[in-house]
């Protein structure tokens, strides 16, 4: 009896809630940023990529940095849900839904930003009409589609029991939302057979998503590593990207955890213990990423090959040095130091560290794309002077910011519609601990 009362309490706590003023302002701000981005994109469509500051040498700019960033952050879905589940990490349960939402939002905007980067987006269909399997871009198209689909399934399957709970509170939703819930999951009766099928499916998904997740990020790294350019021509790139992706994804989850915990007052469900454990995970991932960074930079630095020397010098001591060391320090080293202390793994410091990791990671992606392009093999000589350096134009910033805002908008809307924390699983989990 007590259990069911507790259960009702959990349900009341975790049901999706209507936006209050703060939420509405948040949505408004994000929408405004998206609209500015949309206007910038309209200009880009009309005048061409000339509105950006990309030119023949820096032919990929912050759009591609953003793309890599999104792909990286989307990897967290597979980390929290699949890796934790397969490793039997029980405390991760409340975080799975957040992770999947971030993954879906990020992967959506990864594919959008790559279309934005195209010079002739109206010919997007050529990828399907004339796709060449030899091209890493086609591999990326295939694997992103696959990963998006798996992420959706992995969001959907565990939702089914929760939808049954949601459907009990018809009066709380607008008729349309209620209809949507019915369409999504009215067939879920909580039948044992259904439960078994669903459990099997989730296990299969958790196994399937790991190689696909590794592939998506490895293939993204191959977009760079299959070229000859100094800084990209590296066999380390796949592993380096995956390590970085796990780190930024985990950082993103920590930030989301803190925001949901304070905003929705979910202290009971997202506890300091969760932060503590995520902190340990972050330390591990930071060290892993640090290892790959050393691997990536120390050996070429040691050799200082002619073709790579100016690139490396530019990163370590030249014009990119402030950004490079900022990204390494705030994105990797400081988090390790802060999180080694128990005090550092409390919610608020964790939140700050999470932001540091995410911001550092974004600059790291910028540093992966741009400096290499500014150090081609041939001299940048017989070209207009504007071609020899790069700083994004306002249109690029607006579009890049809009894609970030868009991701957050998708995540926000998803958590308006669906419970941020899996209700049924939390009840079951609670059951077990009480027993």
């Amino acid at each position: 009896m007590e259990n069911s009362i507790q259960g009702e309490q959990i349900i009341q706590d975790l049901l999706p809630r209507k936006f209050k003023t703060g939420g509405k302002v948040w949505i408004g701000v994000l929408t405004a940023i998206c609209l500015v981005g949309a206007y910038a994109y309209y200009r880009q469509l009309r005048y061409g990529l000339i509105v950006t500051n990309m030119r023949d040498y820096v032919s990929w700019g912050i759009y591609i940095s953003n793309f890599v960033f999104f792909v990286a952050i989307s990897l967290v879905g597979s980390l929290i849900t699949a890796v934790f589940r397969l490793l039997g990490v029980k405390w991760g349960t409340p975080l799975t839904r957040i992770a999947e939402m971030i993954a879906v939002g990020a992967i959506m905007f990864a594919s959008i930003i790559i279309i934005v980067d195209m010079g002739s987006p109206e010919r997007f269909y050529n990828l399907f009409l004339y796709g060449r399997i030899q091209s890493p871009i086609i591999w990326d198209v295939i694997v992103i589609t696959t990963y998006f689909f798996i992420s959706l399934l992995l969001l959907y399957y565990p939702l089914l029991p929760d939808i049954k709970i949601l459907l009990r509170f018809k009066e709380k939703y607008s008729p349309r939302l209620y209809k949507f819930y019915r369409w999504l999951g009215a067939f879920w009766k909580g039948d044992h057979k259904q439960y078994l099928l669903s459990k099997k499916a989730i296990n299969a998904l958790c196994i399937a998503i790991i190689p696909v997740a590794f592939t998506i990020h490895t293939v993204t790294s191959w977009l760079f590593a299959t070229t000859y350019r100094p800084g990209w021509d590296s066999t380390n790139f796949g592993a380096y990207f995956i390590a970085g992706a796990f780190l930024v994804g985990a950082g993103g989850v920590v930030v989301a955890m803190y925001i949901f915990r304070t905003w929705y007052r979910m202290d009971k469900y997202i506890t300091p213990e969760h932060f503590d454990k995520m902190g340990r995970v972050l330390v591990l991932l930071s060290l892993l990423y640090l290892y790959f960074n050393i691997n990536e930079f120390l050996t070429p630095f040691f050799k200082m090959k002619e073709s790579e020397a100016s690139y490396l010098n530019d990163l370590f001591t030249g014009s990119f040095a402030p950004m490079f060391w900022f990204a390494i320090l705030t994105g990797i080293i400081l988090p390790v130091i802060i999180l080694l202390f128990k005090q550092g793994r409390r919610p608020l410091p964790m939140f700050i560290v999470g932001i540091m990791v995410v911001v550092g990671a974004w600059f790291k992606r910028y540093l992966i794309v741009t400096p290499t392009l500014l150090h081609p093999f041939m001299p940048m000589h017989d070209v207009p002077s504007a071609y020899r350096h790069y700083f994004p134009s306002w249109e690029e910033w607006a579009i890049a910011m809009a894609s970030l805002a868009g991701t957050m908008l998708v995540i926000t809307l998803l958590c308006r519609i669906f419970p941020i924390i899996p209700i049924q699983e939390t009840i079951d989990h609670n059951h077990e601990t009480v027993k």
């Binding site: 004339y130 198209v141 070229t227 070209v383």
Partner: protein, 310 residues
């Protein structure tokens, strides 16, 4: 330059006129007529009367009379396959370049390129502090294992059987992966709407002429595939007053700059020709002759460099 154009015209006329004459006198087929037919000329059946050098009146088929055969633009399928039996090759003699950029000028003019969109670049090169500086013109290397073609997701850029790498601007999606993949930085992008006359812009795109360039697509040196199809030299080759560029067919083992013609294998052997970035394994079709025994001091090109790259 002049002689080059004219000698070419000679050739066709020689073949064509002879074919016409023979056709008029006897039913025997001359080898020239075959050559003429191979060049794309077909007898029209209409003949005209002309005066021969002997003062005789002869009848010649009209189709063989054009000084330069008018070639209808080839179809996209043909442009993608290229000319069988040919393997085009370029040799750039670095000892002759003094950064005049006539090549670039002619190229930009011929392909309706906007300023700054140079397909040919001339860079001052210096390997190390104590090595000699020299001017190095670069075109597309038309690699035999082209990294740009490897990465193209939609077959918009392709390698032909005659060795030329071309771009189909009606297919290109503008992802710029090829630009990142090209170690020679030879590809340029049409970031905005190209500023070209309306009557050229409205033409259907031809991969062999690379005209008209289109917004949001990649462009690059095309070895003037339309010219080579007609047996003529690329514009940069004819434009260089110093004869820096040589062009030819590797299968004929010969390269020419219009005025001088060399046996390719001998030229490369005697002058120690090399290709750029051989270590990358791209196998370029453009060879360089080292800047030894120069015709001009390096400094003579500096003045031109200042005015053009300010």
């Amino acid at each position: 330059m002049e002689t080059e154009n004219n000698s070419r015209r000679d050739f066709l006329l020689a073949g064509l006129a002879a074919a016409g004459l023979v056709a008029g006198c006897s039913p025997k087929k001359s080898p020239f007529e075959e050559a003429a037919a191979a060049e794309g000329a077909k007898p029209s059946g209409k003949t005209v009367k002309l005066l021969s050098v002997d003062g005789e009146v002869v009848e010649v088929d009209e189709a063989f009379l054009k000084p330069v055969p008018h070639m209808p633009p080839v179809s996209n399928e043909e442009a993608r396959v290229g000319i069988p039996g040919k393997k085009f090759v370029m040799v750039i003699d670095l000892s002759r370049c003094k950064n005049l950029k006539k090549c670039q000028e002619a190229c930009n003019h011929a392909h309706e390129l906007n300023p700054g969109h140079n397909w040919i670049k001339v860079d001052p090169m210096q390997g190390a502090e104590h090595t000699a500086p020299y001017w190095e013109p670069t075109t597309c290397m038309h690699c035999d294992e082209p990294p740009c073609v490897k990465v193209c997701p939609v077959d918009a850029t392709f390698k032909r059987q005659d060795g030329i790498v071309l771009i189909d601007s009606d297919r290109c999606i503008g992802c710029r992966f090829c630009m990142a993949a090209c170690p020679y930085s030879t590809r340029v992008f049409n970031w905005g709407e190209p500023d070209i006359p309306a009557e050229i812009k409205s033409q259907p795109y031809s991969a062999e002429t690379s005209i008209p360039q289109k917004k949001g697509t990649v462009g690059k040196c095309d070895f003037c595939a339309d010219m080579t199809r007609m047996g003529m030299l690329p514009h940069c080759v004819s434009a260089c007053p110093n004869g820096t560029f040589f062009f030819g067919d590797m299968n004929e083992d010969s390269v020419t700059n219009g005025a001088e013609t060399f046996r390719f294998s001998e030229l490369i052997r005697d002058k120690a020709g090399y290709r750029l970035m051989e270590d990358l394994g791209t196998k370029p079709s453009v060879y360089y002759l080292p800047p030894a025994n120069r015709n001009f001091p390096f400094e003579s090109g500096l003045e031109n460099d200042k005015t053009q790259n300010s």
